[in-house]
Symmetry: C2
Subunit: 218 residues, 2 copies
DNA sequence: AGTTGTGAACTGATTCACAGCC
DNA sequence: GGCTGTGAATCAGTTCACAACT
């Protein structure tokens, strides 16, 4: 009898968590290609990782693979979704409907991966009431009611740096549990919410660092 | 006599490189606030890091601080710029002028931090020839000439996943040395260029992971 | 007193290497 | 032959703690 892939919790390395998302993304590609199974070596090669790394990561959560065969693409896909929490859908708000915010509203990749953009907020009076991609832009004062009624757990902050902390405070106050921050400031939320930050300019700086010699080769 | 802050190279932890950008960002805020000096403790506190971490990071590059006083904000600022390579400006191209690409073209944060968007590329015939933020959108076949004449070293890829590898190949062929990739695929460039990847959906997934219990508290 | 720079200790992550399974 | 799961070994990154400096 086949061993059951019971998901065990425990201390998951942060680095492993980031790679789980990569595994999932790649598994979706393999699934489109009608791949039934995949080995740690092939999965790793597609992502620039060693086979041992892939096996170690997956083993944190249970025994998903079959010696001599590899991992079942569909099953591993759904197990990782369960681990990441994306086996269910997440209603998500976007705060700050400027150029970047608008691009995020229409970004198809969110919906495809389990995130539904269901509310838009801005504090600019001239934007409030207008629509973007079929959704009405709301004032921040409507956040508490909407977060509650639409069961919003996540929000994306795409406001200018100077407005980001206040936007975060108000959304946490309104009840969101996780914030993806695109503003170039470090937010303080005092453990009230999970934080994830993306600074677009910093991403380019990491490239110039690599190119300026210090970055180590390869 | 004051010790000279000679930048030493050597093996810089990847993690340190990422934090350098954060230090720089924070130093700019302190500089606006007319701060003359800053201690490792204050700099770290603003970013959620320990003082020891800050000192260790900065010490990889030389001796910038003064015992009993701290670090000179302006000097540390310009030293980190030098280390990151952003003491000079970087002409940058954007490939893929869809919703995200357009938002990136107009994103002010790039210019402010040393990146000049000087060329736009797309492979969609209906977009070629149009303008975006005052720049003409070019076909990919113009990339080699423009990369050379405008001395473009970096590009941002904001095309759909299915087109990303080809876009990367063509830009590397055209001569760029670093790629910031927003497409949700792992690119292969065979060491011809430095790579940095941002997958927007993955950023949200990391939040759901934290919220789904596995992510460790704090 | 306040703060840096840094070896030493520690904690965390990756790679190795191999027994066991298909 | 191919492949997983995992303990052991290695490598990397962080924190500690303190001498030295202002």
């Amino acid at each position: 009898m086949r061993k059951r892939p019971v998901i065990r919790a425990g201390a998951i390395p942060k680095a492993t968590a980031e790679r789980l998302s990569l595994y999932l993304r790649q598994l979706e590609l393999f699934a489109e290609g009608e791949q039934e199974t995949v080995s740690s070596r092939r999965l790793g090669a597609a992502l620039g990782l060693t086979d041992a790394q892939v096996r170690k990561d997956l083993a944190y959560f249970g025994q998903f693979g079959r010696p001599g065969v590899g991992y079942d693409v569909q099953e591993l896909n759904s197990q990782i979704r369960k681990i990441l929490g994306t086996d269910k859908r997440w209603p998500t708000a976007i705060v700050g409907i400027g150029n970047l915010g608008r691009a995020l509203v229409t970004y198809g990749g969110f919906r495809k991966r389990g995130f539904d953009i269901v509310a838009l907020f801005d504090s600019d009076q001239s934007k409030i009431g207008r629509a973007c991609d079929g959704l009405r832009i709301r004032g921040m004062e409507e956040a508490p009611a909407l977060v509650r009624s639409l069961r919003i757990k996540l929000c994306v902050i795409a406001v200018p740096a100077s407005a980001a902390q206040e936007a975060a405070d108000r959304m946490v106050q309104a009840g969101v549990r996780g914030i993806l921050n695109f503003a170039p400031v470090t937010l303080a939320v005092g453990g009230q919410a999970a934080l994830q930050a993306v600074d677009l300019a910093i991403q380019l700086e990491q490239l110039t660092f690599k190119l300026s010699g210090h970055g180590g080769e390869r």
